[in-house]
């Protein structure tokens, strides 16, 4: 049953997942606490054409992804300033266009049709040294950032008005969080693909949040959960020959569902307990 883990490429995939677990596990809770689910998904989707370009023109995928992420963030900031344009529709349109551009580049310009699936849904089985270095860097960055800024991010999260009067640097706090999220998302693109980053960045954190409220427990729990779910997802991916992004998504989603059920039953049992003693 554990045969897959004897294969070297699977072992590299495992290392990647564990590194990503640190990064996604530390940053995921902030994505959930600060309502950045859409943003993280958008970064992943926007990065897709960048990845295709990098793949076709043979430059660093991370660069392609960062480039697109930067452009997207910049445009989003511009759009949200404009009064007439509805940010909602323009953002949705921009993302779909990124996908379309990526599809055209992949299938017609560079003819790398078979790679579209990999780019969109990931491939733990094709992790190279560059990806591992990026994941390691993201992990270190996540450790540093959460170590330094957790308290301030938390304060801003609960009471944005008072935090902004405390110090003018609070806009920088937001920017740092968004940047760290973008870097973590980019690091996870090779593993789970452009469309399923939420499987690592959002779903595990949301699951742990069902049972834990304190930030430190949230972060520790999410790191462990991402590691566990990622490993199981990796194993499933090898066994079913399906993209790891999809297997991790299904695993993490099922865990969320089961945790939710468990919590519902626990609440009902407690309520019954109260009723009996009353």
């Amino acid at each position: 049953m554990l045969d897959p883990f004897n294969l070297p490429y699977v072992q590299e995939g495992l290392i990647e997942i564990l590194l990503l677990a640190v990064a996604a596990g530390l940053i995921g809770p902030w994505i959930v606490l600060r309502g950045l689910s859409f943003y993280s998904h958008a970064i992943g989707t926007a990065a897709f054409p960048g990845l295709v370009l990098a793949d076709g023109l043979s430059f660093s995928p991370a660069l392609g992804a960062f480039g697109m992420a930067g452009i997207f963030t910049g445009l989003s900031a511009l759009i949200s300033r404009s009064r007439r344009a509805s940010a909602d529709s323009v953002t949705a349109l921009a993302l779909v266009t990124c996908l379309a551009a990526g599809v055209i580049l992949a299938s017609d310009v560079f003819s790398s049709g078979s790679n579209i699936d990999t780019l969109l849904f990931g491939s733990l089985l094709a992790i190279g040294p560059a990806d591992l270095w990026l994941a390691a860097a993201a992990a270190v960055l996540a450790l540093l950032a959460t170590g330094l800024f957790s308290d301030r991010w938390l304060a801003k999260g609960f009471d944005p008005e008072s935090a902004s009067t405390l110090r003018s640097g609070s806009r920088w706090l937001d920017a740092i969080l968004l940047a760290v999220v973008a870097i973590t998302v980019t690091a996870s693109l090779s593993a789970v693909g452009a469309l399923l980053v939420s499987a690592l960045m959002v779903v595990p954190a949301a699951t742990v949040r069902l049972v834990a409220r304190r930030v430190s427990t949230l972060q520790a729990g999410t790191v462990l959960l991402v590691a566990a779910e990622g490993t199981v997802g990796l194993w499933l991916s090898v066994k079913t020959d399906a993209p790891p992004g999809a297997t991790v998504a299904v695993v993490s989603g099922s865990v969320f569902g089961l945790t939710l059920l468990a919590r519902v039953f626990e609440r009902k049992a407690r309520a019954r307990g109260y009723a009996r003693t009353a």
Partner: protein, 277 residues
């Protein structure tokens, strides 16, 4: 010049693709306006992703896609409600959790080696493979959607303008939103054939967003949106014919170009009005 225009029309595939995109364009243009005015573009995109496993499951067991999609969208909606109410998650997170899981499940089914090759088309569409049945189905669904939109036009307008006034005007806002989402889902199911699950949001949102920059009344806005959608479709199909690019993706790029043109026009109008005051 004329030959350039008429050559693609000699092919049955082109004619059928043009017919399909025309039907899609009219319906998407109309309902797209409401999607934009009600600011549910992201919800529409999520719906498309959410019903994907339903489509895949239907394709795998040979059931009609419309049925699979309908089941898929109901499942997605139900799960989102559960995640929001029971888990107490914000709508943002709940949608992300449910949609990612459902979409991942769909991909798992679609891309595992034992699934038939046609599944890929569900992701990116197969506009040039539109059959007469597809076109007729799209037309039937389109007529239904347009009919309901016509009937509810004034109420959609009133609630979109001022949600709180709904009850005083005898309108159930919740029911209206549900009907709107149901119409969006039906449109998505039909448009998926041509544009695929990943790109369908473009034709839902793009033409309407572009029309909004240009028009200031609702009925002209709907007409403009439909016109832009059809024009983009035609442009995309011609581009696909001559440049050999993927048809669905080409349509999306054409939509973007129209949107940018409209946005530029809208920006200049804004500057003119500011200057006049």
């Amino acid at each position: 010049m004329i030959e350039w225009l008429t050559e693609p029309l000699g092919y049955g595939t082109t004619l059928r693709a043009l017919a399909e995109i025309t039907v899609l364009g009219i319906v998407s243009g109309a309902i797209g306006c409401w999607i934009v005015l009600y600011e549910i573009s992201y919800s529409a995109e999520s719906l498309a992703h959410g019903l994907f496993p339903g489509l895949v499951a239907a394709a795998l067991i040979g059931a009609p896609l419309l049925l699979g999609g309908a089941v898929g969208v109901l499942l997605a909606a139900l799960l989102i409600v559960i995640a929001t109410r029971v888990a107490g998650e914000s709508a943002d997170t709940a949608i992300a959790v449910v949609i990612t899981t459902l979409f991942g499940a769909g991909v798992l089914l679609a891309l595992s080696p034992d699934s038939p090759p046609g599944i890929q088309e569900l992701l990116f569409g197969n506009l040039l493979g539109a059959t007469v049945t597809d076109i007729l189905t799209a037309a039937a669904a389109g007529i239904a959607v347009l009919g309901v939109l016509w009937l509810l036009h004034d109420r959609l307008l009133a609630v979109g303008f001022d949600r709180d006034s709904g009850p005083a005007l005898g309108i159930s806002v919740g029911a209206l939103n549900l009907i709107l989402l149901a119409l969006v889902s039906l449109t998505i199911l039909v448009a998926v054939q041509g544009l695929g699950n990943l790109l369908v949001a473009a034709i839902l949102v793009g033409p309407a967003a572009a029309a909004r920059q240009v028009n200031h009344r609702i009925v002209p806005m709907i007409v403009t949106a439909a016109a832009i959608a059809i024009a983009s479709g035609v442009a995309g199909i011609y581009a696909s014919f001559y440049l050999k690019t993927a048809a669905g993706a080409s349509v999306v790029v054409a939509l973007l170009i129209f949107y940018l043109l409209a946005a530029a026009y809208g920006a200049t109008q804004g500057k003119l009005t500011a200057a006049r005051r």
